[in-house]
């Protein structure tokens, strides 16, 4: 092994039923570098990582680690941990009903008698040094998704590792938390740790990474030093074609303002999770809720859909007073909701892609009117093609799709119900650049077809591109509403931070 290399993977192949997830892939990691692993949804990034960490057995190829004679024997995540590979997987894999400290230390210490006090103290130190706002004895479920993500990283960091793997760790973090994570990564890098970083945020790659390896359809496209691969080229390598729209995207121009008619109107609506607020959206309008994580933006839309216990308020849909306290009532009134937490609230992992796509439509049709198999297959085929969902077949369980493709299936589910008002909470989370644009365009197209859309995203630019009105939230309250010329990054940041709203 050449000097400075901590890890080499050569000729890795991995086949799943109906998919060749990895085909002869090479990967090299040097110590003290941050190495981005890039590719479209379903390119094989997570699979490569899971082969490295022993979650999957590779079909062929070899893995070598610095300091180990011959091939590294990795057959389980424990094996990987023991030789110094620490991992934060794409989907959080902690136990929500244990405490933060327990989550950081379960399955670790060799001895059976690990003193609770000891590890709680150690956890406290690490959390403090990383600036993670969680207490060791707090139950994990009571932390926000972002904090849970940070805890997963803290767990990995504490294991004296040579290789740290982060699979889309930033997809649910806000700007400040991302910076916190980056400084942590740079710190580890300076101590000689090699870091593998998977993300769909191109700016982040250029901010922290030294090298990029690109995968496409399970094959290696190439390895590049960051300076030699400008962003446009990176995208081209990932997609296998030029993405000419990337630049023109900013000039989307006409933003759908909607017509005069009001699709949905709520007065003083409140739920167990959010304070009373007023809200209305016009036919064909795209609006957004923005604010930091935990500002109450997700809770607000959940109240609209009846996802949490609705505690008050008057609601009108298309001018008629209606009662919406449960999801089914919202659906019957033409409202669709793509939830923020895909794994917890979106997918039904063991059911097929087909069943996952038709689920909401089926529920709306009713208990005694099941869709025929032929109808279901037709819908599934239609949306798999329309959204370009990468799956071995429509009978594949959704749980075995790549993260981004799972998200597309959930999106398909709601498009299929042809809602009048569609609420999208972080629809582009975990979605590759090309598809992100597709989804933004889809939202604009829906608006043209007179669908009202609420679009929530942690990426403000994405919202600025699509929304004609932004509702800004802070501390679970609406603190401003921006339209027209106020719709720019500065003004949004200022309002979020507590400056004067216009």
């Amino acid at each position: 092994m050449p000097n400075g290399t901590v890890l080499t993977m050569r000729g890795i192949c991995k086949q799943f039923p109906g998919v060749r997830a990895l085909n002869n892939v090479d990967f090299t990691l040097r110590s003290g570098e941050i190495h981005a692993l890039m590719g479209e949804n379903g390119a094989g990034k997570s699979t490569l990582i899971k082969v490295l960490t022993g979650v999957y057995e590779k079909d062929a190829g070899s893995i070598r680690m610095d300091g180990i004679e011959g091939e590294a024997n990795i057959h389980s995540p424990q094996d990987a941990q023991e030789i110094g590979i620490a991992t934060v997987y794409q989907e959080i894999t902690l136990c929500p009903n244990l405490t933060v400290a327990e989550n950081m230390y379960i399955g670790r210490g060799k001895g059976l008698l690990v003193r609770q006090k000891d590890y709680e103290k150690k956890a406290e130190e690490i959390l403090r040094s990383l600036g993670i706002p969680a207490r060791p004895r707090q139950q994990l479920a009571s932390c926000s998704l972002a904090v849970q993500q940070m805890v997963a990283i803290a767990r990995a960091v504490d294991m004296k590792c040579k290789v740290l793997i982060l699979d889309e760790p930033t997809s649910s973090l806000d700007e400040k938390e991302v910076q916190m994570l980056f400084s942590l990564m740079r710190d580890l890098k300076s101590r000689g740790v090699g870091i593998i970083f998977v993300t769909h945020f191109l700016e982040q790659v250029y901010e922290v990474c030294d090298r990029i390896t690109v995968l496409r359809n399970g094959e290696l496209v190439g390895e590049y030093v960051i300076e030699q691969l400008p962003q446009v080229q990176l995208v081209a390598r990932m997609m296998g074609k030029e993405l000419s729209e990337l630049n023109s995207m900013n000039e989307f121009g006409r933003k759908p303002m909607g017509s005069e008619e009001i699709t949905y109107e709520a007065e003083q609506i409140s739920s167990s999770e959010c304070r009373p607020f007023d809200f209305r959206i016009r036919k064909g309008e795209v609006n957004g809720f923005t604010g930091l994580l935990g500002s109450g933006r997700s809770e607000s839309v959940r109240a609209i859909f009846g996802a949490d216990k609705v505690t008050g308020g008057r609601v009108k849909v298309n001018g008629k007073s209606v009662r919406i306290t449960r999801p089914i009532e919202a659906m019957k009134n033409g409202i669709g909701y793509l939830p923020e937490d895909r794994k917890r609230d979106g997918i039904i992992a063991d059911l097929s892609v087909r069943e996952n796509i038709i689920l909401a439509l089926q529920v709306m049709k009713g208990f005694f009117r099941p869709l025929s198999r032929a109808e279901a297959e037709k819908f599934a085929d239609e949306y798999i093609a329309a959204l370009n969902i990468k799956t071995a077949s429509k009978d594949t369980p959704i749980g075995s799709l790549s993260g981004g493709n799972q998200q597309k299936v959930i999106l398909a589910r709601w498009l299929l119900t042809h809602p009048d008002y569609l609420i999208l909470d972080e629809p582009t989370r975990g979605i590759d650049v090309g598809t992100k644009l597709e989804i933004q365009k889809l939202v604009l197209k829906l608006a043209e077809e007179n669908v009202s859309v609420t679009f929530i995203s942690s990426e403000i630019e994405e919202m600025l591109r699509t929304c004609s009105r932004l509702i800004v939230m802070r501390d679970r309250r609406i603190v401003g509403e921006l339209t027209g010329d106020d719709l720019n990054q500065n003004q949004v940041m200022k309002t979020i931070a507590g400056g004067e709203a216009s």
């Binding site: 039904i348 909401a360 208990f367 589910r413």
Partner: protein, 359 residues
């Protein structure tokens, strides 16, 4: 599409274990006694020509178990837990059935139907009680049903005032054994009817999809508009119907109700049938046909052991051994190991083939 994906689509894979188990038991018995499964016709004491033989008594004897296993599958899938009160509830249902039959002076077809409907209603009521505890109060199914498991047979005792009364009407007799002119045992026909009802329910309603959705991810199911509480409740109510059918068959077979022994210990066999059928006891995806096969596996095993003159106390121990084997073989760990071994063998063959060509 590869072969494996094709297999998953058909879903036959899940039935492999019970089918293999049945095949092994059949072969074992045939070696032991080539005439073991021979079916003969004979004339029974009411003058009917009927089918008889070990095979018939296995299929017939498994009827109550098979019916309970169907309902249990649904509860397991929706709630991720099991109802351990089915035996006790069946004793209650059977007692109600007997009490109404005995209350009628001439027992007509109408009386029997009325008695069945009444015991069905009672069983559904107890089912809803269990269901409420599980779906509304979110108590673990095993804990929730422990209540009825404990007190069910006492309730059954009260219904007939502590006696073990008999019923001897030709109609109930026919339900428990043979209908004149039909050579197939009536319980077997009832199992077929129940299986048909289940498959029609799954065909003409979305119960199957909803139940699996609830069992796999409750939160997602709710956000897709499914009434999670209702689905869990319904699963227990349907199990209640199964309990009343099994209980009625049980008393008709014996011609009396003994609240202490009717379908005693059947809850564990029922749960095992569900597991042997390849269904996850943690809920989610399910296959009713698997559970029915599972019931027949258990009964075939029991009859085989009796035929081998194993004493009834020892039967339980032998059964346990076989069941452990079946469950372990069906476990994901062993399955993964098998796929790996098979894969390695294929690779080895390929390499050897290549080497030969080289020479």
């Amino acid at each position: 599409m590869t072969r494996e994906a094709g297999k998953r689509k058909g879903g036959v894979g899940q039935l492999l274990i019970p089918l293999i188990a049945i095949a092994l038991l059949v072969i074992f018995n045939l070696i032991r006694d080539p005439s073991f499964f021979s079916i003969e016709t004979k004339t029974n004491n009411t003058g009917n020509t009927v089918l008889a033989g070990n095979l018939i008594s296995i299929i017939n004897g498994a009827s109550e178990l098979a019916i309970l296993a169907m309902g249990m599958t649904l509860v397991t899938a929706a709630c991720g837990g099991q109802d351990i009160s089915v035996g006790a509830a069946a004793a209650i249902a059977g007692s109600v059935f007997v009490r109404i039959i005995r209350g009628a002076a001439p027992v007509t077809g109408g009386t029997v139907i009325g008695a069945f409907l009444a015991c069905c209603a009672v069983a559904m009521l107890f089912g809803s009680f269990n269901g409420m505890l599980v779906a509304v109060f979110r108590i673990q199914p095993m804990i929730a049903t422990l209540i009825l498991y404990t007190c069910g047979r006492s309730i059954a005792y009260w219904i007939n005032g502590g006696a073990t009364p008999t019923i001897d009407s030709p109609i109930t007799g026919a339900i428990g054994s043979f209908i004149p002119g039909i050579p197939v045992p009536t319980p077997v026909i009832i199992v077929a009817v129940m299986a048909l009802l289940f498959s029609l329910t799954f065909r003409f309603t979305t119960l199957g999809l909803y139940t699996q959705a609830v069992g796999i991810n409750e939160s997602s199911a709710r956000l897709n508009g499914i009434n999670v509480t209702l689905i869990k409740l319904v699963s227990f109510i349907i199990l209640g119907i199964c309990v009343s059918v099994a209980g009625s068959i049980g008393v008709c077979r014996l011609g009396l109700i003994n609240h202490e022994t009717l379908l005693i210990d059947i809850e564990m066999d029922t749960i095992l049938a569900v597991a042997i059928g390849g269904n996850s006891l943690g809920g989610g995806k399910f296959k009713i046909s698997g559970s029915i096969l599972g019931a027949y596996v258990i009964q075939m095993l029991t009859i085989t052991l009796y035929a081998m003159k194993v004493s009834s106390t020892d039967v339980k121990a032998y059964k346990a051994i076989v069941i452990i084997l079946l469950v372990v073989i069906g476990s994901p760990v062993v399955k993964r190991w098998f796929t790996k071994v098979i894969g390695n063998m294929r690779n080895a063959r390929k390499i050897r083939g290549a080497a030969k060509e080289g020479v």
